[in-house]
């Protein structure tokens, strides 16, 4: 009996698949507009992607030790994971922080913590990515202040601030203020970066969290690029010339299980963005038209059952990211369905990238898959489906009105529920979970977060507050509030506040007094 006659084949996003593809489709060469096949002519022959493992736990001391370990293992970029209180603009001693300090990332409350985090790490040489959104400008100001202390001038610091608030309303939900004042803060940092930090990406427009929240690949792509359009609109509105800031916009995508659809997604992303920049905004600089992206393998695809299988999933996902032409990559660790990764697990994850980079031969050829009948057609299909979403959001008046009416949130919730149902029915197979299951699995060794971390952090914060000049802090916060009420760029005033050792919580609360807070209408 033929299976193909009865079963319909689709990608994970639901795009239909033909029995065979044989229509040649021309795509411009790597390094040529619209960069479908890659943003560089020689791709990884010129330079490998940056291997950048996202890390942070407990206190700045603990995480500093992990960073030094990762750099010693051959990692070439750092990526800071902050804990939930920091992400939400709370100090470690806030009542809402209880039980959460240092759990999902490192606790940073003041410049003193940031100094410890990068002790012995030369910020002029290592590029650093920081996953922080609502309080992004505060943590970035702390980073720039540490660079100053190290004697590294701002035009030499290089790295990426996530600073993508729109996807917080859409997916990850770590917002503090309402969308419009939040967008003003983002635009402030883009403007500041354009003037003072030419090698720093002030934003990483992120689809990763949209995908983790349960979206399809097509939704991830469409919502992310439409968010990008929103940021460009705001920066133009501010009076910046498109080619002055667009080369520093960077992107961040998920690397999920559907191997070819993921590769098609990255290719379609470059193609759509190049056209948006050239045709919608009239960008002339090629660097504005080239979409650069970081990829992270899909955390949500990892299983608690048979965790060793996660190494294999991650390897396949990482290969998709590399074949899709990523500029930097994080590979998840096998134990991440349980906890933050152990040192052993994160080493295996880093080695996975190194095996792909040095042993497989994939890097020897720019875009090895270009010209595949199937992949080129799938790239077109993904592009078309994403563009249809982008047009719908344009018709709604942009991403903020779309968020306010719950459009992307509802699309994602529907996709996520449908996926879960298909797992439940066995239509989607998850190895070790709903097929090929095992009884009595052996437990794996996990990272234990030192239970004294919260207490140590709170004590450190207390001593920082005792040592600083209270009147300097008061003055800096009063100045910041005044600026927040007006239209001047907030960044220089946030810098003054962090230099006076005002805390994340104090600065964030001061801005909150002016901006107010945001509560979403929950969409089920």
């Amino acid at each position: 009996m033929s299976l193909t006659a009865t079963k319909s084949y689709r990608t994970l996003s639901g795009l239909p698949l033909d029995p065979v593809y044989s229509q040649p489709i021309d795509a411009a060469k790597p390094g040529e507009f619209p960069y479908t096949r890659g943003i560089h002519e020689n791709m990884y022959r010129g330079k490998l992607w940056t291997m950048r493992q996202f890390a942070g736990f407990a206190t700045a001391e603990d995480t500093n030790a992990r960073y030094r370990y990762l750099l010693a293992q051959g990692q070439n970029g750092l990526s800071v994971a902050f804990d939930l209180p920091t992400l939400m603009g709370y100090d470690s001693d806030h009542p809402a922080s209880q039980g959460e300090v240092g759990k999902c990332g490192v606790a940073i409350s003041s410049l003193a913590d940031m100094e410890t985090l990068f002790r012995g790490i030369p910020l002029g040489e290592v590029t650093v990515s920081m996953t922080i959104n609502s309080p992004a400008s505060i943590l970035w100001a702390m980073y720039l202040a540490v660079a100053e202390q190290q004697g590294v001038s701002w035009d030499r610091v290089s790295g990426t601030l996530q600073n993508d608030i729109l996807k917080e309303y859409i997916a990850q939900k770590e917002y503090i203020y309402p969308p419009r004042p939040s967008m003003r803060l983002v635009t402030d940092s883009i403007e500041f970066a354009t003037k003072y930090t030419p090698r720093f990406n002030p934003i990483s427009i992120s689809g990763y969290h949209i995908r983790e929240a349960g979206s399809t690949a097509v939704q991830e792509l469409a919502f992310t690029l439409r968010d990008g359009i929103e940021y460009v609109d705001w920066a133009l509105e501010r009076g910046l010339a498109v080619d002055s800031f667009a080369p520093r916009l960077s992107f961040f995508f998920n690397a999920h299980n559907d191997f070819f659809e993921e590769i098609a997604k990255y290719r379609a992303a470059r193609k759509i963005w190049a056209r948006v920049m050239r045709d919608r905004y009239g960008a002339k600089d090629e660097r504005s038209q080239r979409l650069r992206f970081h990829a992270q393998t899909a955390g949500c695809s990892l299983t608690w059952q048979q965790p060793q299988n996660n190494i294999v999933r991650t390897a396949v996902q990482a290969m998709a990211a590399v074949l899709g032409g990523c500029q930097s990559l994080h590979t998840n660790s096998l134990d991440e369905a349980y906890a933050l990764p152990s040192e052993h697990a994160v080493t295996v994850a880093l080695r996975t990238q190194q095996v792909i980079a040095y042993e497989t031969g994939i890097t020897a050829e720019p875009d090895p898959l270009g010209g595949s009948y199937f992949l080129e057609k799938l790239t077109l299909d993904v592009e078309e489906a994403a563009n249809a979403y982008i047009r719908r959001i344009d018709e709604m008046g942009g991403m903020i009105p779309a968020i306010e009416r719950g459009f992307p949130q509802t699309e994602i919730a529907n996709a996520s529920y449908e996926f879960q149902r298909s797992v439940e029915l066995g239509e989607s197979v998850i190895v070790g979970v709903n097929k090929f299951t095992e009884k009595d699995e052996k437990p794996i060794e996990l990272l234990q977060i030192d239970r004294t971390a919260e207490q140590r952090q709170v004590e450190k914060l207390r001593s920082v507050k005792a040592k600083r000049s209270a009147s300097d802090v008061e003055k800096a916060l009063a100045n910041l509030k005044k600026v927040a009420e007006g239209t001047e760029n907030t960044m220089p005033f946030i810098l003054d506040a962090v230099r006076a050792y005002a805390t994340v919580g104090e600065i964030s609360a001061s801005l909150g007094e002016v901006f107010g807070s945001y509560t979403e209408t929950s969409v089920l």
Binding site: L84, P85, L87, M88, Y90, A96, S97, Q98, G99, E100, K103, C104, E168, Q172, K173, E174, E212, A213, G214, C300, T303, W304, Q305, A337, Y338, A339, A413, S416, Y417, Q420, R421, E424, I430, V433, N434, P443, L446, I449, T519, E520, S522, V523, L524
Partner: protein, 133 residues
């Protein structure tokens, strides 16, 4: 009178990852239960008050941040204080085995770790609520 099982699905703590909570809420609703979803960043006090107001038989707590040991005991205490210990409390999220055992010792009826099926959760609620009704 409506005999549908009433469930409060709650997201306590600072964690904003609500994919699981939303999927569970929809699955319980599709299974014929009446579901109230609290939305994000609920304190134990807010959750217990909502449970009282909505007169639910079940509270489902979704926690992925590792803060369960700080949050769940507080919810259990408040339920006891308000003489609501008959409310069935279930927890879902990233909860290591030893923590799950401890949560059960303080009265949590069931802890669902990653990979738990929607069916098993629905069935557990149905059979437990029937027993106590």
């Amino acid at each position: 009178m409506d005999h549908r099982i009433r469930v409060l699905v709650a997201k306590p703590g600072l964690d904003g990852h609500d994919r699981g909570a939303k999927v569970i809420a929809r699955a319980l609703r599709d299974a014929g239960m009446e579901v109230v979803y609290t939305g994000l960043r609920q304190t134990p006090e807010m959750i217990v008050n909502a449970a009282l107001q909505e007169d639910v038989q079940v509270i489902g707590l979704s926690i992925l941040s590792g803060a369960h040991n700080a949050i769940v005991p507080r919810v259990m205490e408040l339920l006891k204080e308000k003489q609501m210990s008959d409310v069935l409390v279930i927890v879902g999220g990233i909860v290591p085995d030893e923590d799950a055992a401890q949560l059960k010792r303080i009265g949590v009826a069931q802890v669902y770790q990653p990979g738990a099926t929607l069916d098993s959760i629905v069935n557990f609620i149905r059979s437990s609520v029937k027993q106590t009704a």
